[in-house]
């Protein structure tokens, strides 16, 4: 292979910052400090910067983490990354997939397609090593002068005040202090900021151990997610095989609860298992990791002016691709709200809806991934018996197939939120308020083809009214973007998919939030109800 142009920089230098010269009453004050430059912290910083906020982004390391770690990025995450200007790069490098197969023993039980319909810009999922995602995000950060990314800056103390937070930061050249109006802790499952605010992190610990191996092999193998219950090469347990870029394959093997972690991790012990799985020995190990996991979340995602996002706030089992993807959903949910609060366009109470919406999403993710885990590793004899009954019924029945749970893959949560205005008109379909906007292909007046998600970005990723043609354009409030499908000068819904997905009639209008969620919808968008919905969605009323 030629020099990999997508290969990105992973090692970064510490640089002294003028803030470090300041002390006492003279310490630097910043609107937002984001702690942790992983996928969540980086994406949040970019979103805030694109909205015009200055962001200090701290990370205690000076390099991007090793190992593939999170590898499945969802359609929703890709749409978010499109808004941040990194979607194309992720998709170009990533492995696109939408088909999964489930096996029981040696035979296939069924297969599923996560995105069975056409007309979406982004696929259901891409697989991409987390270090690539982080590297591309860092490249984007470096294009944005609003972001001040400081490597080897470790927060060692935190003092909450009414109107902000004082942070003490250790560097290779000693420690210094800054003050921030808001701190967002994206510092991972072992969050030190969570400990500093004294928050609990309760939940369920799973006893089963899983082994992850990334192996390099050039093999003709379909780009699909393969999941086995009780495979011939790993009797009684489960296994997962998934393709990543660079001819790397992710293998997850469930181990016995009493397996010895040190011995299991030795390549000479892992190799025979994988040889049996692949049926050959033409592979090399890139990375081996052993893990147990927990499903838990913080009771409150906001502690004064310290806000938690991603793994620092919630942890799930890896089955379902709900870790990094839900963290990215946190970031996009928080960015526009924090921006509005910092600009004093919305009251600080708008941030409370971040907790409401995202903690409910965390509960859903924990519930789904706990169910998957329990299905893979039944706790009691009777649970195992019911599981076996489902697997055997799945061979012959549709309902059995649908009960087999080899991981329910991440889809965006539907929010039951005070920001939504309830439906007053009659709807037969389409996204109800609290739902993420469905994508659809549209043709522009000049004949160019595009997607609704792209048009939304071009409207400025702000509150936007999506209207379906009815002669004249609706009277759109100031500061609100406008997308018109059909009608004079509007986008053309050549395939009729936009109209179908939004249950559109002439005059139908959807008010979209800056994160692309539906806030309200109308059969006819008259100003008073539209203004009321906008005020509600901004947290103003």
């Amino acid at each position: 292979m030629a020099a990999n142009t997508a290969q990105a920089k992973t090692q970064f230098g510490y640089r002294r910052h003028p803030d470090q010269e300041r002390s006492g009453a003279n310490v630097a004050e910043h609107p937002v400090v984001v702690v942790g430059a992983g996928p969540v912290g980086l994406s949040l910083a970019i979103d805030l910067a694109q909205r015009g906020q200055r962001v200090v982004l701290l990370d205690d390391a000076d390099r991007i983490g090793e190992g593939s770690r999170a590898i499945c990025f969802s359609k929703r995450s890709l749409e978010f990354w499109d808004r941040l200007g990194v979607g194309d790069r992720m998709v170009e490098k990533g492995v696109v997939w939408s088909v999964g197969k489930i096996f029981h023993g040696a035979s296939q039980l069924y297969q599923f397609n996560l995105l069975p319909e056409e007309g979406h810009k982004r696929p259901a999922f891409i697989n991409l090593q987390q270090f690539y995602a982080e590297a591309y995000l860092v490249d984007r950060v470096e294009q944005l002068p609003e972001i001040d990314l400081r490597w080897r800056n470790k927060v060692i103390a935190l003092e909450s005040r009414n109107d902000g937070v004082a942070l003490t930061i250790a560097t290779p050249e000693g420690s210094y202090q800054v003050r921030a109006s808001f701190v967002v802790a994206c510092d991972g499952a072992r969050s030190s900021l969570r400990q500093m605010v004294g928050a609990d992190f309760a939940g369920q610990v799973f006893e089963d151990q899983f082994l992850i191996a990334d192996v390099k092999m050039t093999a003709a193998f379909p780009t699909e997610r393969w999941f086995w219950f009780d495979p011939p090469f790993h009797a009684g347990r489960s296994a997962l095989l998934h393709k990543q870029p660079d001819d790397i394959w992710r293998i997850d093997l469930q181990l016995n609860p009493d397996a010895d972690p040190v011995a299991e991790k030795q390549p000479e012990n892992v190799r025979p298992r994988i040889e049996r799985m692949l049926g050959h020995d033409k592979f090399e190990f890139e990375w081996i990791s052993l893990y147990k996991f927990q499903c838990r979340r913080m009771a409150k995602f906001i502690h004064g002016r310290v806000i938690f996002a991603g793994d620092s706030a919630h942890q799930v089992s890896p089955f379902g691709a709900r870790g990094a993807n839900s963290g990215l959903e946190d970031a996009e949910n928080l960015a526009w709200k924090l921006d509005r609060v910092l600009r004093r366009l919305s009251p600080e109470s708008l941030l409370e809806t971040y907790h409401i919406e995202r903690s409910a999403a965390a509960d859903e993710n924990i519930r789904e991934s706990t169910r998957s885990t329990d299905f893979m590793a039944p706790v009691t004899r009777q649970e195992a018996r019911l599981r076996e009954a489902v697997l055997s019924l799945a061979k012959d029945t549709e309902f059995g197939k649908r009960m087999v749970n080899g991981g329910r893959l991440s889809v965006p949560s539907v929010y039951d939120t005070p920001l939504s205005s309830g439906d007053r008109d009659d709807w037969r379909g389409g996204p109800r308020p609290g739902t993420s906007m469905p994508d659809a292909p549209v043709t522009e007046q000049g004949g160019g083809s595009s997607y609704l998600t792209d048009v939304f970005i071009r409207q400025g990723t702000r509150f936007t009214l999506l209207e379906f043609g009815n002669g004249t354009a609706a009277d759109v409030p100031e500061g609100v973007g406008s997308i018109r499908v059909g009608g004079e000068g509007g986008l053309v819904d050549a395939q009729g998919l936009a109209g179908k997905r939004y249950d559109a009639e002439p005059g139908t209008a959807y008010l979209l939030r800056p994160d692309g969620y539906v806030a309200a919808r109308f059969r006819n968008a008259a100003r008073p109800p539209l203004d009321a919905a906008l005020a509600r969605a901004s947290g103003v009323s």
């Binding site: 009777q382 018996r385 019911l386 076996e388 009954a389 055997s392 019924l393 029945t397 309902f399 059995g400």
Partner: protein
């Protein structure tokens, strides 16, 4: 109450018999496997989570009642 507990079979003895006979000749473990599959098949046929929950509650109350009676008899 959505769960029907009135008698729905014209010949209840035939229904009971059909289930009993399905277990004839099976070991305890095989019987338990059969029951597990049968419960899932029937639950799907009902296809109503509220009815299923009521059915579970009714069945569970009966087991609790039985275990309480047993305890009282032992005392």
């Amino acid at each position: 109450m959505a769960l029907s507990t009135s008698s729905n079979f014209a010949k209840p003895d035939d229904a009971f018999r059909a289930i009993v006979e399905a277990h004839r000749g099976l070991t305890e473990a095989q019987s338990a496997d059969l029951d597990a599959a049968l419960v899932l098949v029937l639950a799907n046929h009902i296809g109503d989570l509220d009815v299923l929950r009521e059915a579970i509650a009714l069945a569970k109350r009966r087991t609790l009642d039985a275990s309480q009676q047993q305890q009282q008899q032992q005392q």
